[in-house]
Symmetry: C2
Subunit: 262 residues, 2 copies
Amino acid sequence: MNNIAAAFQEPLDSTSDEPLYAQLERRILQLIATGVLDENVPLPTEESLVKTFGLSRATVRRCFKDLVDAGHVRRRRGLGTFVSRQSGQASITRSLNFSSEIRALKMTPSSRVLEFRTIKSSASIAQNLHIAKGANVWRIRRVRLADGSPVLLTTSFVPTLLCPKLSEQDLEHSLYSRITEQSNALPARCEEIYDAVCLDETDAQQLDVPIGSPAFRIHRASMDTRNRVFEISIIIEPASKHRFKVSTDIDEVHFEKIFDMG
Amino acid sequence: MNNIAAAFQEPLDSTSDEPLYAQLERRILQLIATGVLDENVPLPTEESLVKTFGLSRATVRRCFKDLVDAGHVRRRRGLGTFVSRQSGQASITRSLNFSSEIRALKMTPSSRVLEFRTIKSSASIAQNLHIAKGANVWRIRRVRLADGSPVLLTTSFVPTLLCPKLSEQDLEHSLYSRITEQSNALPARCEEIYDAVCLDETDAQQLDVPIGSPAFRIHRASMDTRNRVFEISIIIEPASKHRFKVSTDIDEVHFEKIFDMG
């Protein structure tokens, strides 16, 4: 089953206060956000969505109209409806989709898998994933590279119950789209705590930076639309290649990552 | 002249597209944001604002109504109109007003002044402050403390032209309200770049943390309502006491500082 079909398997909630067209809209935005839908693949047609969800034609039409008006998608005569280029820049895409981000910078993303196995979850991992202590989790440790040069180091923990089948090959692409496919867990949001650290020998060597050099250490929890934590990870970003920009005005704070391969 | 009077000296712009009630509203929100107006001092009366700005009664009333409706201020019968408690939590207050932030945590803020003098601006300082190279600037280096314990280290540069009179005593209170008073520069926004660093001996000693321990280093530029840079600073926040939380969902990113004296 492809990712798009998997994502549409879960029915919409007709008892919710949120109108159905808005629920459908959010579902599609999530697919865009996680990179499952991109500029190259047409969205499901209005007809197929009417069928899949048993929705009225007007509901689906309203959803598509809103997405077009907001600039998220555009209709291409005779070809279908496609994600607009800038819509791939949604906040959560940038956070969760390393490959898209690197490609947007006109570089080639790759991964070096350092560790890939299942372990029994420790008390702290179990607590953060909201699973029973000792339940199986994937432990995936990867260096992510841009044009062959190390950019960051991630250690991820994913409940095997959510994603029973995972191969090293899957990790070359997006881990998240693989999770979505198997679990219907559509990434909806993530929470990150940023620390500053000085790198130990192991991490420094993997990242090809001097021992003791400064880095950001990020603890991330990723939640799906039903607010289940489907992954936690620890991300090490060396300060030589990462900074972030915070703009504050009277009532808003903007946060932006700056990635510097210079 | 007190800060409130100073802030109202600059006339509103009757040629602007922005309605006068909205301009007045923004002016008042800035005073709240910078801590010049707080829960303890009543706002100027509607009558006095009508006079000061030569505005119609309806304009001032509309501004106050909006501020009340938005929960920024509340009317206290027989006493006047006061800032609501939570409104003092505006984004820019938290960024620029160390003392308010520490007091909100039920601790006592203080400062240790390490350096306080005027220097000729270097090329890089001049460029960042948009002034001529060699123009005089205040260089102010302070350790900021909470309950007597060092929390962060700031090195600030302020053009003396904007704030000719400044004493070491002024620094005990808010530097920003002193700048507002002398220059009519109302802080409106700031931009910060966050780096991770490992502390050198000097900074580590001032902050009472081990040499080489990790910290955030923040380059900040603060702008007034006319988009003039009125201050730049370098802020060192040891990782042992500071972290950041970033929450990302489909189309929004929230950034929050976490301050941990534990």
